[in-house]
């Protein structure tokens, strides 16, 4: 993603001075201590950092799964500060898609049913053709009727990505998506992210420990002790 695009496209996620502190006994843990960033459509952003640097906390805040103690967060131009849980659900629905380290597919549902699950919550009709098209995009079209236990780790993660895409999300948020995958599958997942960014103009935010994979993103943000210590574009 170029600097020109960055200046032309309005951010879909805009965070200013996000803070999240936890109390552990008498000690205050500053998980995030004033993070500001913008995420735009059509860019892939890696968030790197060691354990405890605040990656997951930042992802949770950007996902509207948690609320910041201080700071301003705009999702698709809407301020989410002070919203209650049901309102946050509305913000998430149709805008944010999630991919987790442990896939979290429901074991009794087939691949296609897992992908279609968010539609049930959005009260949208299931379009099996669309499901198969999305599975085609993640190279799992021939696995639609399989159960998760019949898939490999890499395939399960691709199902999770398809699940995030079924609602036409504008932002894909992935927290350590390659944490449970081997190198080849990890690279395949990142390659898929790149393809989705270019083909569907998605914004992808991904946290990872893996510097090599993180380096495949358009922009790399490095966190340490709850602060952004580095932010640069891919060379």
């Amino acid at each position: 993603m170029s600097n020109n695009t960055e200046t032309m496209v309005a951010p879909i996620i805009s965070a200013r001075g996000l803070k999240k502190h936890y109390q552990r006994g008498i000690e205050t843990i500053k998980a995030l201590d004033g993070v500001s960033l913008d995420i735009r459509a059509g860019e892939m952003v890696s968030i790197l950092g060691p354990s405890g640097s605040g990656k997951t906390t930042l992802i949770n805040l950007l996902s509207c799964l948690d609320a910041p103690d201080a700071g301003e967060l705009l999702i698709a131009g809407r301020s989410v500060s002070g919203l209650v849980e049901e309102e946050l659900v509305n913000v998430r629905q149709g805008v944010l898609g999630f991919v987790f380290q442990k896939f979290h597919l429901l074991p009794t549902l087939t691949v296609a049913e897992n992908v279609e699950l968010p539609l049930m919550f959005l009260r949208r009709a299931v379009d099996r053709e669309k499901t198969l098209e999305i599975l085609r995009q993640v190279d799992l079209e021939n696995r639609a009727g399989h159960l998760p236990k019949e898939l490999s780790g890499g395939q399960m993660q691709r199902v999770a990505i398809a699940r995030a895409l079924i609602t036409d999300s504008k932002v894909l948020i992935a927290d350590e998506p390659t944490g449970n995958l081997d190198k080849a599958n990890g690279e395949a997942v990142f390659a898929l992210f790149r393809r989705l960014v270019s083909e569907k103009n998605l914004a992808v935010i991904v946290t990872t420990h893996n510097l090599a994979l993180g380096g495949l993103a358009d922009r790399i943000i490095t966190l340490e002790d709850g602060l952004v210590i580095d932010e640069h574009l891919r060379q």
Binding site: R92, F98, H104, P118
Partner: protein, 414 residues
């Protein structure tokens, strides 16, 4: 996919646990349905048995009304007798529309049955006056099935003829015109006297104690039992049967020594009240079983919720609202309870005959027909009850699940 289908699929993740929980509910519902069915069936059975006595009021020797009732219903032993003059006194009462005297005795049966066992059995004998007796029981007609054709009532003065109830004829394999033997010990003697009778007729099945009774002319019965001036019961129908008319009738005739006037409504009440204590105990067991089942359901669903904490977090993350999660868990609970309800009803229906046999072996009041009546209304109530139980049992687990914060739920699940 619909929420209901999704809830069902969740239940099949732990089929054994789900099955055991449903079984627990089913057993509780089966106990409750059987109890309610017994309550209804027993009352119906009492009603039918007593209504088919044919009279509304009876006069008999003083004693326990329960004994009086069961004696009439199932024959009984330890018979006590009235002087036949009672009949002559009472028959002039202006409130009576019909009256019939009955003499009941017990005969010994030997060697005439299908079994050649040396052990003897007993036959209940009703000595009746045909015209007045049959006018009170117009449903008592002669069977016309194979071997029963040509049956008729005996004449009141006949000395060697009997009419057999349907079950007696079936058990003894008698046809119309066959011989029938009974040994009767006359009053005041110790040795029984065997007599041969001709089967004049065989009655259609009535579903009452009459099916197991041997009928003969009242004069003959009195003579054989050597009680020529005695009766067992005098049955009446009143012109205007009401509580008031019955009380007045009672007052008029209770003054006779050694006589009691028994209204059949009173007999019904007495018989029903006899099993109410037992019913209360069984109801307590049913209530305990239902409470245990509810606790089982809540426990099972709570375990399922805790196991799926991470999954619930994910569902919230991908768009499920609080009410969606509440609905899913609540539907799972409802499905278990309704499944248990349906299973319990089927269990109760299939076990009806066993329950009847068990009840009849424990308490035999001589009632005939089904003692457990599982009506469509009972099944509907059981199903609605299961749904109500499901509604309440599902509230807490559903609330717990829906109240989970997604970020914490996902973290806990990992």
């Amino acid at each position: 996919m619909r929420f209901m289908a999704f809830a069902f699929k969740n239940l099949f993740r732990r089929p054994l646990r789900t099955g055991l929980t449903i079984t627990g509910v089913a057993l509780a519902v089966a106990v409750a349905v059987s109890l309610i069915g017994f309550n209804i069936g027993y009352r119906q059975s009492i009603d039918v048995s007593i209504d088919k006595l044919g009279f509304q009021v009876m006069i008999m020797a003083k004693g326990c009304p329960y004994e009086a009732a069961t004696m009439m219903l199932k024959g009984g032993t330890g018979l006590v007798y009235l002087p036949s003059s009672t009949y002559d006194k009472v028959r002039s009462d202006p409130d009576i529309s019909a009256i019939t005297p009955i003499f009941v005795g017990v005969a010994e049966k030997e060697g005439s049955g299908i079994s050649d066992e040396s052990a003897s059995s007993f036959a209940i004998i009703s000595g009746i006056e045909v015209e007045s007796f049959v006018s009170m029981k117009p449903w008592m007609t002669m069977s016309q099935s194979a071997g029963h054709q040509g049956g008729r009532w005996f004449a009141d003065e006949a000395t060697g003829e009997v009419v057999l109830g349907f079950e007696v004829a079936e058990y003894e394999q008698r046809k119309v015109g066959d011989s029938y033997y009974m040994s009767i010990t006359p009053y005041g003697q110790t040795e029984p006297v065997m007599s041969e009778f001709k089967v004049a007729g065989i009655l259609e099945r009535t579903g009452t104690q009459d099916d197991g009774t041997v009928f003969m002319p009242i004069g003959l019965a009195r003579s054989l039992f050597n009680r020529p001036t005695e009766l067992t019961i005098v049955g009446f129908k009143l012109k205007n049967f009401s509580g008031f008319a019955l009380r007045q009738f009672e007052q008029r005739w209770a003054q006779l020594p050694e006589v009691q006037v028994v209204g059949l409504q009173q007999v019904k009440t007495t018989l029903v009240s006899l099993v109410e204590t037992a019913q209360t105990m069984i109801a307590s067991v049913a209530v305990v079983a239902i409470i245990v089942a509810i606790i089982g359901v809540i426990n099972s669903i709570m375990m399922s919720v805790f196991e799926r904490t991470g999954e619930i977090g994910i569902m919230k993350a991908i768009g499920a609202s609080k009410s969606d999660i509440f609905q899913i868990i609540w539907l799972e609970t409802m499905a278990i309870c309704l499944g248990g309800g349906i299973g319990g009803i089927l269990l109760a229906l299939s076990g009806t005959s066993l329950v009847e046999k068990a009840i009849q072996s424990l308490i035999d009041f001589g009632t005939r027909g089904s003692m457990v009546a599982i009506t469509p209304q009972v099944m509907l109530v059981a199903l609605l009850g299961s749904a109500v139980v499901g509604c309440f049992a599902g509230l807490y687990p559903a609330w717990r699940a829906s109240s989970m914060r997604p970020v914490e739920a996902i973290r806990e699940g990992e």
